[in-house]
């Protein structure tokens, strides 16, 4: 069965160094649709990334900074990138060698399908 998120997930997973991409419910952290490589624990990534994005959104609002456009977590062994809209979060998990600029562009374009 196809979902409206298939195209954006397929676009993201084709990017160099991307380990997985997911559409997640922001409030419950449950996977709506995902395209991940073998070995990626999608439920764990989904729940933690959604919690991270939600807290970032609330922090940004509290600080009077408005809506979170793009959230990037840079870690020792890779990146977690998130964009969100209408209670859904698009999450991309990538290796350090990934081109974050291209991923960011694709995610910001893809965020439209979340609405």
């Amino acid at each position: 069965m196809s979902s409206p998120f298939e195209d954006i997930l397929a676009t993201l997973i084709r990017q160099r160094g991307v380990l997985g991409c997911l559409v997640v419910g922001e409030s419950d952290g449950i996977v709506v649709d995902a395209n991940v490589q073998v070995g990626v624990s999608e439920q764990v990534v989904a729940a933690l990334a959604a919690a991270l994005f939600r807290r970032a959104r609330l922090s940004s609002q509290s600080a009077g900074l408005g809506r979170v456009q793009f959230l990037q977590l840079e870690a020792e062994k890779g990146h977690v990138c998130c964009v969100g809209r209408e209670g859904l979060v698009l999450v991309t998990l990538a290796e350090p060698r990934a081109h974050i600029g291209l991923i960011r562009g694709a995610m910001l374009q893809g965020v439209e399908v979340l609405a």
Partner: protein
């Protein structure tokens, strides 16, 4: 706020879950309704009521699952307006336990499920070997229930059973 447990091997996994998942209440119990550990409750009577309800819900869901799917439902989730509850089964080499937790805006179902799975693994590793005892009778159930509540709330097992606040 700390967890209160009836048996020491329960404490570390339960406290770890509470710290990580940031839940409001947590309750680990035997399927008969006997409490093994709790977090967030302030009165023994509330623990007793929650244990009885959780045991009943778990038993009903298990039977419903057997009727519909040929195997018992092991997890149950209900979303309220402000608070949500999750009930799951914890399997250990000793026996199976029922876990009930309530959470609010600070947590999410996804987080609760992840840390519940982690806690189940830790409980399974920490559980002592099974000891075969006599069949459960109403008198021994009541005595065991009183003993576990006494251990949780720090008073004698023959003391009155409700409304006692937790020691701070």
């Amino acid at each position: 706020m700390r967890t209160h447990v009836a048996e020491p091997w329960v404490e570390a996994p339960l406290q770890g879950f509470v710290d990580d998942a940031r839940v409001l209440f947590a309750l680990l119990l035997h399927p008969s309704g006997q409490v093994m550990g709790q977090f967030g409750f302030t009165r023994a009577v509330d623990v007793m009521a929650a244990c009885a309800l959780a045991a009943g819900i778990h038993a009903s869901a298990g039977q419903l699952g057997r009727e519909l799917d040929g195997q018992p439902f092991r997890e149950l989730y209900h979303a309220g307006r402000d608070r949500q509850i999750f009930i799951g089964e914890v399997r250990t080499p000793r026996e199976a336990f029922v876990f009930l937790t309530a959470f609010g805006e600070e947590s999410s179902l996804g987080l609760v499920r992840i840390f519940f799975a982690e806690m189940s693994t830790r409980l399974s590793q920490a559980a002592p070997a099974r000891v075969d005892g006599p069949p459960l009778a109403a008198a021994s159930l009541e005595r065991d229930l009183a003993r576990s509540l006494a251990a949780l709330f720090g008073r004698s097992a023959d003391g009155e059973s409700g409304g006692t606040p937790l020691p701070s």
